[in-house]
């Protein structure tokens, strides 16, 4: 390794130390400072010097300085070609060689884990989401059309056409964007100061411009309006580009002035705080001493001894000097006795607003710290009390409150970060899969190489979503000390539910694998709907969105249908202890549900009691049984299928069905309260189906 030049200035050292600290923070690599210093090549040192120079001029320039420093350091590092080291130290992500561990960590910090790249990724995620959404909606529309038996010639969805168009160069040249507004003839370029002959039209304003003044690109809609990412890229004149750019409103920061002005007050307050706190400590010692030593039996003498001792800490104001309380101005007399503030010595009355008794813990007998249980009451005026409180507050501030909530919330945030990292990849895969699987394309049945990968990511995402859901539920359950706390908890829960609703949507995008699991085949004839694309959408999305949110009651009917071949075996048989137990068992149960419920059935909901394991009372539920019998008569295979199920599977599905039934009941209640009677009616139908299924299983047990 090259060594730093002997003329190392103290300033450079300081800058280096700062770098080292940052590197250590970012990558959890702790190396002794001296060794790093010796390792740093001259190039990096020079770079850091430039940083420390720029660091003086404001926060923004520090940011910029740092970023430029890094790229400089990395480049030079490659160029210096300390060959051996470079071979060893390559960035695991982009493969760029680094001259030293220090430089490598710096590179990792700034290039790969900078906050900025996260932001970009998040935005990309949002845009992808839009695209996926429109693709899915297209899917729904397609499904609806197929259902109504219309021709589906125009069922290509918007994502396809858009993707094709982005590959072309200019939206207007390829005829996607209107040219009606184009200026037909002009002698000179539309830029007033420019005299050049015009050659090209601005696609936005339509003026004829010279090539030099028409160099920018914007995305335009078919009617030549500026739209976001969804438009066609078009060439526009420079003026249009400037005018359509998002105007960032003016802002002004007073933070520096403010902190400067604040320093004086804050320092004074801190000083006063420590002074009073020290007095309190000494008073506590005096009190402790007094309790131990004072043996006089006469109360007055004891008190006098204490007061004398207290006055060794703070000198008291003479009683004769004052005739009224300095805070409330009440005149002293027989009713209003004189008291002294033990912290400042001034005379005041004992009114509640004027003086308080501070509880001060006494020192322990062995002199080690203060006692937890024993304390003395010390009279203090309002002003001193305020100072004491503020000081204690300041200390309490350092320790964060509600650590449990913070911990859980951090959990949610890390899950969210995970989702934001993987979701864009997943969306891209899903769109690709969807396209290759659409009816028009001639993909071979086995030709979905992305499917296992997508399924894997999907599983990770589902886990992250489930995690967020679980944790947010726990937050909602946390004991709330105040109304504000409970509002906060439920708001976090709402935010997570909202997030899930928005981001779990794309998970439904994976197409059905070409070959369906054997267990599914039997039920196909009973429900033609499953064949339509919409029917194949998994609904695992909705398992986790909480109470009050209209989501699925058919928990994860999902996993059985889409990527079943990939992950089915692991989920369906996984029982009991894992945090996702309810999901996996519901996957199994939903399978039976899909298999069994076929024929239509009707009838009113029977009471909840019929769902308990104990046998229902015959008189109360005779009617219900009758209906079940009728349903059975209509579809005898169903009973047979249920009878052939193993008992533990029956029990599992029973639990799930009950849970679903509860939720549906909740939705019905909600729908009726809000007078959405159509919704209520359709929910009622599903409730009936659930009821029949339930009683069938119950009987067979």
């Amino acid at each position: 390794m090259s060594h730093t030049s002997p003329s190392q200035t103290p300033m450079r050292k300081e800058a280096l130390t700062r770098h080292v600290r940052r590197a250590a923070r970012g990558s959890l690599v702790s190396v002794p400072e001296a060794s790093i210093e010796s390792e740093v090549p001259p190039q990096v040192t020079r770079a850091t010097r430039s940083q420390s120079a720029s660091g003086k001029s404001g926060i923004m320039s520090i940011e910029n300085g740092r970023r430029s420093t890094v790229s400089l350091g990395a480049d030079n590092g490659t160029a210096s070609a300390a060959a051996v080291a470079a071979e060893r130290l390559r960035c695991p992500i982009c493969g760029v060689a680094a001259p030293s561990l220090f430089a490598l960590n710096l590179h990792l910090d700034d290039t790969h884990f900078a906050g900025e790249s996260n932001v970009v990724r998040r935005e990309a995620a949002q845009d992808d989401l839009e695209e996926v959404k429109s693709a899915i909606l297209g899917l729904f529309r397609g499904a609806g059309r197929a259902m109504r038996g219309l021709s589906s010639t125009d069922s290509d969805n918007s994502a396809d056409t858009r993707a094709e168009s982005t590959e072309r160069r200019d939206g207007a040249d390829s005829g996607f964007v209107t040219r009606e507004h184009w200026q037909q003839e002009a002698a000179r370029c539309g830029e007033p100061a420019c005299g050049a002959a015009p050659t090209i039209n601005c696609r936005l304003c339509g003026r004829l411009m010279c090539a030099q003044h028409c160099t920018r690109q914007l995305r335009l809609s078919a009617t030549a309006q500026v739209v976001g990412r969804s438009g066609y890229p078009c060439r526009v004149c420079n003026e249009c580009a400037i005018r359509t750019a998002l105007v960032e409103g003016q802002t002004r920061s007073h933070t520096r002035t403010f902190t400067h002005l604040r320093r004086r007050t804050a320092d004074a307050a801190a000083l006063a705080g420590t002074r009073i706190e020290r007095r309190l400590e000494r008073l506590a010692v005096v009190h402790g001493e007094w309790q131990r030593t004072s043996t006089s039996l006469i109360a007055g003498a004891r008190r006098r001894a204490l007061q004398d001792a207290e006055q060794t800490v703070v000198v008291w104001q003479d009683d004769a000097e004052v005739s009224s309380c300095f805070l409330c101005e009440r005149a002293f007399g027989l009713a209003a006795r004189r008291h002294h503030c033990r912290l400042c010595g001034r005379v005041l009355c004992n009114g509640r607003a004027c003086s308080t008794l501070l509880a001060v813990p006494l020192p322990q007998r062995d002199g080690a710290g203060f006692s937890q249980t024993e304390h003395a009451d010390i009279r203090s005026c309002r002003e001193c009390t305020h100072v004491v409180e503020r000081h204690r507050d300041r200390i309490a501030r350092a320790a964060p409150r509600a650590p449990e909530l913070m911990r859980l919330y951090e959990h949610i945030r890390s899950s969210m970060a995970l989702v934001e990292e993987y979701l864009p990849t997943f969306n891209a895969l899903a769109i690709r899969l969807h396209r290759s699987n659409s009816p028009g394309s001639n993909a071979s049945p086995g030709g979905l190489p992305d499917l296992p990968r997508a399924a894997r990511i999907r599983k990770q995402l589902t886990a992250a979503f489930a995690e967020m859901d679980q944790v947010s539920k726990r937050i909602a359950m946390l004991p709330a000390a105040s109304a504000g706390d409970s509002r906060l908890h439920s708001a976090i829960r709402r935010a997570v539910a909202q997030y899930l609703q928005l981001h779990m949507f794309p998970l439904t995008m994976l197409p059905r694998p070409p070959r369906r699991p054997a267990s599914m085949l039997g039920s196909n004839s009973a429900e033609p709907m499953v064949e339509s694309p919409a029917g194949s959408l998994p609904s695992s999305v909705s398992t986790s969105v909480g109470p009050g949110r209209p989501t699925t009651f058919l928990a994860a009917a999902s996993d059985c249908s889409d990527v079943a071949s990939v992950e089915e075996s692991s989920t369906a048989n996984d029982s009991g202890n894992s945090p996702y137990a309810d999901r996996s068992s519901s996957a199994g149960a939903a399978k039976t549900l899909v298999q069994s419920v076929g024929g239509a059935a009707s009838g009113l909901a029977s009471s909840l009691l019929s769902l308990t394991r104990s046998k229902p009372k015959p008189d109360a539920f005779g009617e219900h049984d009758e209906r079940v019998r009728q349903a059975l008569a209509a579809d005898p295979t169903k009973a047979h299928r249920i009878a052939s199920m193993p008992t533990d599977e029956k029990l599992a599905s029973l639990d799930v069905l009950r849970d679903q039934r509860q939720r549906v009941l909740g939705y019905i209640g909600e729908a009726q309260r809000e007078r959405r009677l159509e919704d209520a009616a359709s929910l009622q139908t599903s409730l009936d189906e659930l009821d029949i299924e339930l009683s069938l299983i119950e009987r067979s047990l």
Partner: protein, 569 residues
Amino acid sequence: MDVLKAAQYYINRIITDTSGMKVLLLDRETTPMISLVSTQSYLLSKEVFLVDRIENQQRDTMRHLKCICFVRPTNASIQALIDELRSPKYGDYYIYFSNILKKSMIELLAENDENEVVREVQEFYADFYAVTSNLFHIGLVPAQHPLFGEGHSWNPGALARTVQGLSALLLSMKKRPIVRYERNSAMALKLGQELEYLMNHEANLFGTQAASTTTQLLLLDRKNDPVTPLLTHWTYHAMLHELIGINNGRIDLSQVPDARGEVKEVMISQDQDSFFKQAQFLNFGDLGVSVKEFVDSYQAKTQSHHRIESISDMKRFVETYPEFRKLSGNVSKHVTLIGELSRLVSARHLLAVSELEQSLACNEQHSTDLKALRALIADARILPENKVRCVLLYALRYERAPGNATAELKQLLSSHGVDADMVATIDVVLRYGGARERQSDIFQNENIFSRGRNIFKGLQGTENVYTQHTPALAETLEQLVRGRQVQHWQERLPALDPATAVQVPTSEMGLRSQDIIVFVIGGATLDEEMAVARLNSKLAAQNVRIVLGSTCIHNSQTFLNELSATFFP
């Protein structure tokens, strides 16, 4: 030049610049400003879990939250902030002011931040109410903030607030415009001078370079067009404001007889509600068609949801359920609103009233109008307010006509039981915006040329008798943008600083690149917003952008109330 976006930029910055669990504290005025441009769920998605008022003393202590304050720099808000800083309830404080701070305010805050909890103090100029992308107002609600001092002069508080709001708007768009004012309006001149002074004084904010020649700020005075706020308008947004009343995007339905029990208040927002965005400028007839289509499409969806025959149907239903529910809420909202509008229209016989109004506003037919007006006053089914509005229109149009019968009509009103106070507003409006006060010839009956044009217009015939009238603003803007009658408009709307030459669009250059901010002192109407929106979409390709602002958004009721509370000599 999108007012909504300008405000949203700031709100977005305020809530995303800090990460972590946050509480947002607002004051009396920033609360409605934010609720106009943002939603609860948007705030939630940006980790703002609690929103509260800074004046609220009953807030719980929550040290683990970061606190974002967005307040106007008023004395009340500064005092509330000081109280908060003296006993801080939250962890860190990030304070954003919606306007320019005084030095003394910063000092006061700094003195009281003994616990060193403040992390940021910034000015983010979102100090206006963004109603739609073309329309903003300053929030000078007549009942709380009287606009006029004595006659045609500013109430000092209102002037200060207007200067603040208008300067904030300019800062949010990074504009330093040429200021033009209506020559006959002392209020416009005064406002222009104050604004110019501020722009020079805060040169580092507004930019030191000379005003850009392509941006104009037109300061207009309502008194030059008192007719538009008096008419019954027939577009959706305007009807809602006129007949039910919109207060910062909220519509109070508690007076509506057939509103469903639990919905007492609905929100109307261009940003959130796609149906409203489409239907905002539809007239009442088209609106019926449009809402029918909307309901049909909803029903089609319901039908497909209703046919739930298999588990997969159920699955699908449940997956689309949230979307569906949102849609169903929106459908029922608009159906309720439109139902109420049509009930009011027929109950108040507004079609008959409007026909007469339009005739009074647009055509010169003295004797016919007078006859119709007498019949209208005698009609017991017509609301007294509407009778007064018609008489007002008559009085304004035929103020100088021979045989003016205003006095007789006033007597007729009284004899038909119209409240004396209401009759008295007729004189107030004449003093406020009568021929003596106006500089424009809004009725086109003052000289032989305009009479000729008027008659010519009458001969062309009209498509719809209820929507003949276009606000004077529409023509003003059209002529300014197209560079017609330049002399006339420079006479009427002189630039404040005579040295600056207003760039006149010539035919050679086309109409390119003009930004116009119109500010109406004394209240804009939603009809004028529509005129601006139409002009914007018509001239979008020419890069002409217009924004309309005002001290408040008037309907006929608030307009008359405000005037009758003022003394005009």
